[in-house]
Symmetry: C2
Subunit: 112 residues, 2 copies
DNA sequence: CTGTATCCATGATGATACTG
DNA sequence: CAGTATCATCATGGATACAG
């Protein structure tokens, strides 16, 4: 039984909060892509396997609403749009890196 | 731009692996409940707000298949069944704790 | 390029009742 | 207590076409 910093009820609420913002099939994958350097719509779509434009569009809006990314329109011809993680988004870095690390470890495990 | 331990493609694959095992609406909440000490079916159902017996039953089977929990039948009267995290499940502790910590921080932020 | 609109299929979930 | 069965509903996502 691990010692926790929070009660079971608190832990549950906080986990729910985290999942509310980052949960679902795509958000963490999109953040991973942006985290890794993708900025343009097509670039992100290329990085996230299987995502369609419709879904990516909706998810980017959600992330923007939650202040995790910014959408900047550059007045070039044709217009260029860049998505970037906000400063606040960086608070997710530790968590995201832990998830990636676990996935790497897990992949090793199931291969053996 | 943070320095990463993995290439963008690797990071994406590993994140996908992690989400494959722990993703979806309920798995991390169930693991949080078990992590916090819940063992019995009803206990877990009581800890995870809104989950139905049908869904919990299915999710517990998935988690068992992925070797994250064990299901033990005790031959009492009436029969007692306990779910517990495996040793392998403990490798998720850091990640889960980071998610809970982030939720706690985020809740503070949005309150202000 | 960066999306939006529409239509449709599917899987996930909810409600309720029921079993060993 | 610990689930399963059945039916209905609903959100998610896929395919395709189209727009600024």
């Amino acid at each position: 039984m691990p010692q926790e910093d929070y009660s079971a009820e608190q832990a549950m609420r906080y986990m729910q909060d985290t999942l509310y913002v980052t949960g679902g099939k795509w958000k963490l994958l999109i953040l991973t892509a942006i985290h890794a350097g993708s900025k343009r719509f097509k670039e992100i779509q290329g990085s996230v396997p299987g995502i369609t434009a419709k879904v990516l569009s909706k998810e980017l809006k959600d992330l923007e609403l939650n202040k995790l990314i910014t959408r900047t329109v550059y007045d070039t011809t044709p217009v260029t749009i860049e998505y970037e993680g906000t400063e606040y988004c960086q608070s997710l870095n530790t968590m995201i890196n832990e998830m990636i690390k676990w996935g790497a470890m897990h992949r090793k495990q199931i291969r053996d």
